[in-house]
C-alpha cells in the first residue's frame, strides 16, 4: 500500500494511512502508461513519468492515428486510457466511445445518452464537456443535463444514473468528476442563471447521494463549521456567508463549481474553487458575497470545510474562481510544505499551505494585470489577504451605466479553466494564459429562474501596448511568484498543458497546433497543425512499450465566441493588426482525436 501511495503522487506526498483514496484510481495514477483522471493525477500536476518522447527526439514526432468523434462543437478534456482501452468523450450529446488499442482502436462500445436539446442554450458558452473519469471498473460521465452516469467500462452498460440538477432552472454541467474512495464528487454550472451552486458526493457503487455542500447560504448548507473552519488562520463565524449578501440574494448567488478537483490522500482533503457571484452587476449585490470566488478544502467523506479563502470578495469583473488547484510539496521560507498553487482568473498566482490554508504567495502571473495593485500580504492589516482594488478599474465604484475601460484581465481571466501542468524536475508550472483586456459596464437586471442573469456589457481586446497577441504560454515559479519564461501566442492558449519526464511540455493552440517546448527554456521543439483549433488537454499513454501523445481538436467554448470572428475591428487601429485577426481565418469546426508517436526506428 505504502509503495503504491508513494508512486501514486507525482509530487511525492507520502501516505500516512492506508486504504485512502480509491485503490483503482491510485493504481492507474501509479502506472504512467494509463490515464484514469482528466487531471492525470490526484494532485492535478498533469505530469507524466513517460520519457520515451524527450526533448532531443520530439522533433521526429509524427501522427500515428486519428479518430473522428462525429460531433462538431468545442472539444475540451482528453481521452482516458486504462489497460488496452481508450475512452473518448464528446461535447453534447456527450457520446462515449470505448476503443480497443489492441485492435487498431476499434470501437468496442458506444454510449449515447438521450438528452433534451433545450439544455444546449442554457449552457454557458458552447456545449463542452471536460471528460470522463475511471474508477473501479466503471466510467463516470457527467452529462450536460447534469445526469451523472456510471458505465461498465467493459460493456458500456449503465450501472446507475442520478440527476444532480435541473436544467430548466439553468443548472447544467460541463465539468469532469472526482472519484475518491467509495464516492464520486461532482460540481454544477449556472452562474449566469442565478443558480446557488454546490458540490455533491454520490456513492460510486450505486449513485446514492451522500452529502451536498453549497457555495453560499447558512452553515448547514455550506457545511462550514463555525469556529472550526478557518479563513487565513482565523475561525469563520456562524453563518458568515449570509452576512455578506443583501436579504435572500444568496439563493441566486452563483459560486458555481465547474472547474477541477484535486485531492490529497494524506490530509484527506479535496480542493476546488467556486465561481463568480450572480449577477455580473456588482451594485445589485452589496457585500463580500461569500463564498463565491473561494478556494475550498473539504473532507470527501463529510463535505465539511476545513478552510476557505476568498480571493476576490465582491467580484466586479466576473473573475470566476474555478481554476484548478495544483498540489505540490516544495520548500518555502526554508521549510518543506504541502502547497497548493492556483492561477486565478483575476490574474494572481496564489500559493497556499494546503493543510492550513495559510496564504504564502500572491503575485501577478501576467504583468498587464491592473485591476488591483497587489494582494495585501500584511498579516496586521485590516485588508489582509484581500486584493487592493484600483478605483479607476472598479466597476462597483464607477457604478451602473458607466463603462469602465482598460481593465486587465478581461472576464475570461488571465487564465480560464484550461489547466496548467507542473514538473517536479524543474519545479516550474506551465501555464496557458489569456492576454486580453476589457471594457465593462454593469447595469440593472431582473431575475427570472432558468433565464440568464448577466447584467453587464463587455467588450474585449488584446492587451494594449504588448505583443499584440491574445495569449502567452508561461513557466511560473510558484515559490517566488515569478515568471521564468513566456512565449507569446497570437490567440489565447485554451489547451491544458502536459509536462513529461522527457523534459518536454506539450500544449495546443486555437489555430490547431500541437506544440512541444523545452521544459527548461520554452524553446519550441515541434509543432503540427491538427484539423481544428485545440481547446482540449494534451494527454499521453503507453501501449505495447511505445509512448503516444493525444489531443482532441475541435474549436469552440468561450474561445469560440469572440475569437471566431476576431474580438474587435481589425481596422480600428488600436494595436498590432495581427493580434486582431479572426480565428476563422485559421481553422474551422472539428471533432478529432490526433495521436502522435515517434517513428518506429
Amino acid at each position: 500500500m505504502r509503495a503504491v501511495h508513494l508512486l501514486a503522487l507525482g509530487a511525492g506526498i507520502a501516505a500516512a494511512t492506508p486504504a485512502l483514496a480509491n485503490e483503482s484510481v491510485l493504481k492507474s495514477i501509479a502506472n504512467p502508461a494509463e490515464q484514469a483522471l482528466q487531471t492525470v493525477d490526484y494532485a492535478n500536476t498533469r505530469y507524466s513519468k513517460l520519457d520515451q518522447i524527450n526533448a532531443s527526439n520530439v522533433k521526429n514526432l509524427q501522427v500515428a492515428w486519428t479518430f473522428s468523434t462525429g460531433v462538431l462543437r468545442g472539444h475540451e478534456g482528453a481521452p482516458l486510457v486504462v489497460g488496452n482501452m481508450m475512452y473518448v468523450h464528446t461535447p453534447f450529446p456527450n457520446i462515449v466511445y470505448a476503443l480497443d488499442l489492441d485492435q487498431g482502436a476499434k470501437i468496442v462500445w458506444k454510449y449515447e445518452p438521450k438528452q433534451d436539446p433545450s439544455v444546449i442554450p442554457v449552457m454557458c458558452c458552447d456545449t463542452v464537456n471536460r471528460g470522463l473519469a475511471y474508477a473501479d471498473g466503471t466510467i463516470i460521465l457527467h452529462q450536460a443535463d447534469t445526469t451523472v452516469v456510471s458505465l461498465d467500462a467493459k460493456t458500456g452498460k449503465v450501472n446507475w444514473s442520478v440527476k444532480n440538477g435541473d436544467p430548466s432552472k439553468g443548472e447544467t454541467n460541463t465539468a469532469t468528476v472526482l472519484p475518491v474512495k467509495d464516492k464520486v464528487i461532482v460540481g454544477i454550472s449556472g452562474g449566469e442563471f442565478g443558480v446557488q451552486c454546490h458540490v455533491t458526493a454520490y456513492s460510486l457503487k450505486d449513485g446514492k447521494k451522500i452529502w451536498r455542500g453549497y457555495s453560499m447560504g447558512p452553515d448547514d448548507q455550506t457545511l462550514i463549521e463555525a469556529g472550526k473552519t478557518t479563513e487565513l488562520g482565523k475561525p469563520v463565524e456562524k453563518d458568515a456567508s449570509l452576512k455578506t449578501w443583501e436579504g435572500d440574494q444568496w439563493k441566486q448567488g452563483g459560486g458555481c463549481t465547474w472547474g477541477w478537483f484535486s485531492y490529497d490522500p494524506k490530509l484527506d482533503l479535496f480542493y476546488y474553487g467556486s465561481g463568480n457571484p450572480s449577477t455580473w452587476n456588482p451594485k445589485q449585490r452589496p457585500g463580500d458575497n461569500k463564498w463565491s470566488m473561494t478556494v475550498w478544502a473539504r473532507n470527501p467523506d463529510t463535505g465539511k470545510a476545513k478552510w476557505v479563502y476568498q480571493m476576490t470578495p465582491h467580484d466586479e469583473w466576473d473573475y470566476d474562481g474555478i481554476n484548478e488547484m495544483i498540489l505540490t510539496d516544495q520548500k518555502i521560507d526554508g521549510k518543506e510544505q504541502p502547497l497548493l498553487t492556483h492561477f486565478d482568473r483575476n490574474g494572481f498566482g496564489y500559493t497556499l499551505n494546503r493543510d492550513t490554508g495559510a496564504l504564502l504567495v500572491a503575485e501577478k502571473y501576467d504583468p498587464v494585470v491592473n485591476w488591483a495593485t497587489k494582494v495585501d500580504m500584511d498579516k496586521g492589516s485590516k485588508t489582509y489577504g484581500r486584493p487592493l482594488v484600483v478605483s479607476k478599474y472598479s466597476t462597483e465604484q464607477n457604478g451602473e451605466d458607466v463603462n469602465s475601460k482598460g481593465i486587465c484581465p478581461a472576464a475570461l481571466g488571465s487564465k480560464d479553466q484550461q489547466p496548467a501542468a507542473y514538473s517536479p524536475k524543474t519545479q516550474l508550472f506551465y501555464v496557458p494564459t489569456n492576454h486580453v483586456c476589457m471594457d465593462y459596464e454593469p447595469f440593472k437586471v431582473t431575475y427570472t429562474p432558468g433565464q440568464p442573469y448577466v447584467g453587464a456589457t463587455l467588450s474585449m481586446y488584446p492587451a494594449p501596448g504588448s505583443h499584440g497577441g491574445m495569449g502567452n504560454f508561461i513557466a511560473w515559479d510558484g515559490v517566488n511568484g515569478k515568471i521564468k519564461w513566456s512565449n507569446p501566442e497570437q490567440f489565447s492558449v485554451w489547451c491544458g498543458a502536459l509536462a513529461t519526464a522527457g523534459d518536454v511540455v506539450f500544449y495546443g493552440t486555437l489555430e490547431g497546433y500541437l506544440k512541444a517546448v523545452d521544459s527548461k527554456t520554452g524553446k519550441e521543439l515541434y509543432k503540427f497543425k491538427t484539423p481544428s483549433g485545440i481547446i482540449g488537454n494534451v494527454m499521453t499513454y503507453e501501449h505495447k512499450g511505445k509512448q503516444y501523445v493525444g489531443v482532441l481538436s475541435g474549436v469552440g467554448g468561450w474561445a469560440g465566441i469572440g475569437l471566431a470572428a476576431g474580438l474587435t475591428d481589425p481596422n480600428a487601429g488600436l494595436g498590432a493588426v495581427g493580434g486582431y485577426a479572426a480565428l476563422s481565418s485559421y481553422t474551422n469546426l472539428g471533432g478529432q482525436l490526433t495521436v502522435f508517436s515517434l517513428p518506429n526506428n
Binding site: G74, F92, C125, F443, T446, T448, P452, L458
Partner: protein, 199 residues
C-alpha cells in the same frame, strides 16, 4: 407554460407601449419636417444598400425612429459618429444577453449565426418571434438551439433596441464599435422601460 405565454404577451404589450406616443410629440416631429436621412461614416465599408434603404426612417416618435412599414429603425448622424438611443441601448443589451452565443458585434461564433447577416433577411416579425419563442436546429451535424426569451424581461423589454442595433449592423450603417455619441434617452422610453421591467 401559461406564465411564459403571459409574459411573452407582456413583452408584446411592452413593445406596444413603446409604440404609443403622446400626440403632441408626434405633431411636433411632423411639423418640423425633419430630414431623417442617415449621415454615415464616409469610410464605412460594409454598407448593404438595399437593407440600408429599407431601413430609412420616415418618422420620429420621441427618439424612436420608424421605417415606412412602421417598424423600428436606427438613425445615425454626424458622419457616423452619433446614434439614436435605441441603437445605443441595443448595443449594450446585445453585449450582455446575446454575445455569449452570437459573438461580439453580431459577428457570430463557432456555434451561433452572425446576426449582422441574419438581420439582412429576417423581418421585424420573424426577429421578434425567434427572440420570444426560440429556435431549434438539431440533427446529425448541428446542435443549434436558441432559448425562448419570452419570459425574460432583461431581453424582451429591449426587443426593439436589439432589433434596431442589429439592423444597423446588417445595413452596414454601424460598424464594430461601441457607440460614443448618442441621442438623449427619450422620456417615453424611460417610462416604458420602468413599466416593462417592474411589471
Amino acid at each position: 407554460m401559461s406564465s411564459m405565454k403571459t409574459l411573452a404577451l407582456l413583452g408584446l404589450v411592452g413593445a406596444a407601449v413603446l409604440g404609443t406616443v403622446p400626440t403632441a410629440t408626434l405633431v411636433f416631429a411632423q411639423d418640423a419636417k425633419t430630414d431623417f436621412a442617415n449621415k454615415l461614416d464616409p469610410n464605412a465599408k460594409e454598407i448593404d444598400e438595399p437593407v440600408l434603404k429599407a431601413a430609412t426612417a420616415v418618422k420620429d416618435e420621441d427618439g424612436k425612429y420608424l421605417d415606412k412599414d412602421g417598424h423600428p429603425t436606427f438613425r445615425i448622424t454626424n458622419d457616423g459618429k452619433k446614434v439614436d438611443w435605441y441603437t445605443y441601448a441595443g448595443y449594450r443589451r446585445y453585449h450582455a444577453e446575446c454575445h455569449v452565443c452570437h459573438g461580439p458585434d453580431g459577428m457570430g461564433s463557432t456555434y451561433a449565426p452572425a446576426l449582422k447577416d441574419s438581420l439582412k433577411r429576417l423581418s421585424y416579425e420573424e426577429f421578434y418571434g425567434i427572440l420570444a419563442g426560440g429556435k431549434q436546429d438539431v440533427n446529425n451535424t448541428a446542435n443549434q438551439v436558441m432559448p425562448a426569451f419570452g419570459d425574460n424581461k432583461n431581453v424582451m423589454c429591449y426587443a426593439n433596441d436589439l432589433y434596431v442595433y442589429l439592423r444597423a449592423r446588417a445595413a452596414g450603417a454601424w460598424g464594430r464599435a461601441r457607440p460614443a455619441e448618442k441621442e438623449d434617452k427619450p422620456e417615453t422610453y424611460k417610462k416604458a422601460e420602468t413599466e416593462c421591467l417592474g411589471g
